[in-house]
């Protein structure tokens, strides 16, 4: 691809770009891209028909970064430099992430001079969650260009979805990521709103729809009123720390004791590669439990010689996640209360997000709202479809549809004594505006400090701090006399701007808020200059080399135990392993990545009985040694 080495371009103001507007669902686990085409939204796929782009980016020490499927393969090989779930870190400071920190295989550090988290890659380099997300977005853009048969440079505009419950800093960070990926964001769209849009497309009726959106890392509940193509959000609530990742974690916790007994370590004591393998194992088991009453939790790390298998019943899994699901139901009730709507007044309950495949979620939702939830549209795709529908509207390709959304969190100013004076309440329609008057506290005061916070709590310390601004140049007056008007505006993307002015003096000072989590323009420019974008062949080569290395590691560990294979494996298992080994030895680093991946999968699968045999030996040796110790101890006593 000749274009692939160029820097991403930002559209020039006034110049009307020609390419379609992308609708991108930037998820915690997976990302999808869709466009509006011939009067309908369409999800785009890669040449092999895969639409899900893993939201993972990897930053190798000696090569350009890779994202998506290519990065997924590197998760186990290079876990410290392969970043997943970046969405959970967007717009956050280290202090916000105490919980998350212990559970992620990579090292989080605070960015210098800013309350914002970065990932330490362990080789002197750091990347921000914004950069990780930008890589994923760039991958989505590449996939779209491939599917549409155009140059990625032609795709410069996008509608990007975020959880409705994202705060200002998280929205700003998403915007920055898009900018880094060379995309102009026409609209930041709330995920549940996008889903309702997709559901409303073929059903022009009126009604109240509750959207239950449980994704990989976030939960949203939104109540919408549909009325002849107008989608009015009545209320929204959510939790940006609750999702399928937490179900996986609950599952890992279930086997933790067992794991310790058999392997001698608890999940958090495993090395990063093994923790990644454990996470994948939990996810696999969870998915199987959605279809079966019980499933095997198979944790297998041939390179480290670890093997573990346990059978988990669905009832045990459900008991473990029930408190999490109950939290989501309570959020839904809060949404109904905020809107003054009874469950019986609902016309439809819609399920969105991969985690709604968990049967307990469906049952609880049905029980709470007295009706089976709608799931006619694939819950993984529905948000991307809605984003494309909105992209179509904004590009002027489709008409007769309008979204009226709300802001999820209240916004206010800290007053004397640390309390919050709220200017804009949650569930206010956006764009929103509010003005409030303040005054000075001491005689002759010429400046006031305004601390802007977001959240529902009464004390500023309990809310999220968005930033501070100082209004100077107030002429000296007795306390209480100056009339300071503070104006908050939220634009249609949910982003805040604050202006303050002393009205009595006429000499008005005006200030705009710069969020302290955000990047300055020059920082963004610098990041753009050091940007990436590179050829598909390069990435394939890189991926092949990685897979080949992984393959060699497994081959070596099997060869090292050739005698165990001979003596302890059953005939069928042995011949399968030998065959897989033979095929794997023939592979070279220049083979296509898909072939290498197939060989690796088969070899790992075939090596499982060997790993089991080795584990049993270790256990048997431990028992034998203890018996000997007991004999010796007894001997001493005589």
């Amino acid at each position: 691809m000749s274009d692939s080495l160029s820097l991403p371009t930002l559209p020039v103001a006034g110049q009307q770009p020609a390419g379609p507007v992308l609708g991108i669902d930037l998820g915690t686990t997976n990302t999808l891209v869709a466009v509006w085409q011939d009067g309908a939204p369409r999800v785009l796929s890669d040449p092999s028909g895969e639409a899900l782009i893993p939201s993972i980016a990897s930053f190798p020490a000696d090569a350009p970064p890779v994202a998506g499927r290519n990065a997924l393969d590197r998760a186990r090989l290079d876990p410290e430099r392969t970043i997943h779930s970046a969405k959970r870190l967007l717009g956050k400071g280290l202090a916000d992430l105490e919980q998350e920190r212990r559970l992620l295989p990579f090292r989080l550090v605070e960015a210098e001079g800013r309350e914002r988290v970065e990932i330490d890659l362990g080789d002197g380099r750091r990347v921000s969650p914004v950069e990780v997300s930008a890589q994923v977005l760039a991958e989505a853009r590449r996939l779209a260009a491939g599917a549409l048969g155009c140059d990625p440079a032609e795709l410069e505009r996008a509608v990007i979805t975020v959880p409705a419950y994202f705060d200002d800093a998280q929205r700003q960070a998403t915007r920055e990521a898009a900018r880094l990926a060379g995309l102009e964001v026409l609209r930041i769209l709330n995920e549940p709103t996008a889903a309702a849009l997709a559901y409303g497309l073929d059903r022009r009726g009126a009604g109240r729809v509750l959207v239950y959106d449980l994704g990989g890392g976030t939960f949203d509940a939104s109540l919408l009123q549909l009325d002849e193509g107008v989608y009015r959000v009545l209320a929204t609530a959510g939790d940006t720390y609750l999702g399928g990742d937490d179900f996986d974690r609950a599952l890992s916790d279930l086997v933790a004791d067992d794991l310790e007994r058999r392997i001698g370590r608890r999940p958090q004591e495993l090395d990063p590669a093994a923790r990644t393998a454990l996470r994948f194992a939990a996810e696999r088991c969870k998915k199987e439990l959605s279809a079966a009453e019980e499933a095997d939790f198979v944790f297998h790390d041939p390179a480290a010689g670890l093997a573990f298998r346990a059978t988990i019943g669905r009832d045990r899994f459900e008991a473990a996640i029930r408190p999490l699901v109950e939290r989501t139901i309570e959020r839904c009730r809060q949404v109904l209360r905020d809107a003054g709507v009874e469950p019986a007044d609902l016309d439809q309950v819609v399920l969105v997000g991969g985690s709604t495949r968990v049967p307990l979620v469906r049952r609880q939702v049905e029980e709470a709202f007295g009706r089976p939830p709608a799931d006619a549209i694939d819950p993984d795709r529905v948000v991307a479809l809605g984003a494309a529908a909105q992209a179509g509207v904004l590009a002027g390709q489709s008409d007769g549809m309008l979204l009226l959304d709300v802001t999820p969190l209240s916004l206010g100013i800290e007053t004397m004594g640390g309390a919050v004076s709220k200017l804009i309440l949650r569930n206010t329609p956006v764009p929103a505006r509010a003005v409030e008057g303040f005054t000075t506290f001491v005689d002759g005061q010429t400046a006031v400090k305004l601390h802007i916070v977001q959240g529902e709590r009464e004390m500023a310390a309990d809310c999220r701090s968005l930033g501070e601004m100082i209004l100077r140049g107030i002429p000296p007056m007795p306390a209480g006399l100056p009339k300071i008007a503070v104006e908050f505006t939220i634009d249609a993307d949910g982003l805040l701007r604050v202006r303050a002015r002393e009205e009595r003096s006429g000499a008005a000072a005006e200030i705009e808020l710069r969020p302290k989590h955000g990047l300055t323009d020059s920082e963004v420019e610098n990041m753009l200059k050091s940007a990436w974008d590179h050829a598909q062949e390069d990435m394939d080569r890189r991926r092949s080399a990685d897979l080949h290395t992984q393959l060699q590691t497994v081959i070596r560990s099997v060869e090292k135990n050739a005698d165990v294979v001979r003596r302890e494996l059953a005939e069928a298992a042995r011949s399968r392993l030998e065959e897989a080994l033979e095929d794997a030895r023939e592979a070279g680093p220049e083979d296509p990545p898909d072939r290498l991946k197939g060989l690796l999968d088969e070899l790992e699968e075939a090596a499982y009985p060997l790993a089991e045999a080795l584990m049993n030996r270790v256990a048997a040796e431990a028992v034998a040694k203890r018996r000997l110790d007991e004999v010796l101890d007894n001997g001493k006593g005589v």
Binding site: A13, V230, L402, V430, E456, R457, T489
Partner: protein, 180 residues
């Protein structure tokens, strides 16, 4: 940033009694014309103007939708001050009752006693409805010549204070109902 007349912006009569369906209908009609989504491909100047107009319409809509803010707007349009938090304390009986309610709410919250929390919430909501009806009556009783010291204005302020108390207790209860 002067006070705007939310009634005029949405083309509704300047009074407390409100036809909610009419409010929604007006807001929708104006949204279809002014929403920034209709201006995404227009020059920046038009886009920003649309954002601003829509924000003002939404602000007016929010003010009218909330009975308390609607009453405050009516007072402000007549040049009368609204309640300023604590300085207009109402009758001591009401205050006692509120303190008691708040105490019970805090207790139930600490014990995570859901049925009790729900019961208190119901009681508060009933009281809130009564207070809001009384507030509306007082505001609509205001004559053109009524000053800040008039009975109707004083009654409106007292109800506003009481509603503020009730709402803060209700918020406390609602927060307590969300499991951690």
């Amino acid at each position: 940033m002067p006070v705007q007349d939310p009634f005029a912006l949405l083309g509704l009569p300047r009074r407390f009694a409100l036809d909610e369906d009419e409010l929604h209908r007006r807001h929708l009609e104006l949204s279809l014309r002014h929403h920034p989504d209709r201006f995404v491909l227009r020059p920046e100047e038009e886009r920003l103007q649309a954002e601003d107009e829509m924000a003002r319409l939404n602000e007016a809509y929010e003010i009218l939708r909330d009975p308390v803010r609607r009453a405050e707007a009516l007072l402000a349009l007549r040049g009368l001050p609204a309640a300023e938090g604590t300085d207009q304390t109402s009758d001591p009986e009401f205050l006692m009752e509120m303190m008691e309610l708040k105490e019970q709410a805090a207790e139930a919250a600490a014990e995570r006693d859901r049925p009790r929390l729900m019961e208190l919430l119901c009681r508060i909501n009933v009281k809130l409805d009564e207070e809001i009806a009384a507030l509306g009556a007082a505001v609509d009783r205001l004559g053109a010549e009524d000053g800040p010291e008039s009975t109707a204005a004083a009654a409106a302020r007292a109800h506003l204070t009481e509603i503020a108390y009730l709402r803060s207790t209700r918020d406390l209860l609602e927060r307590a109902l969300i499991p951690a």
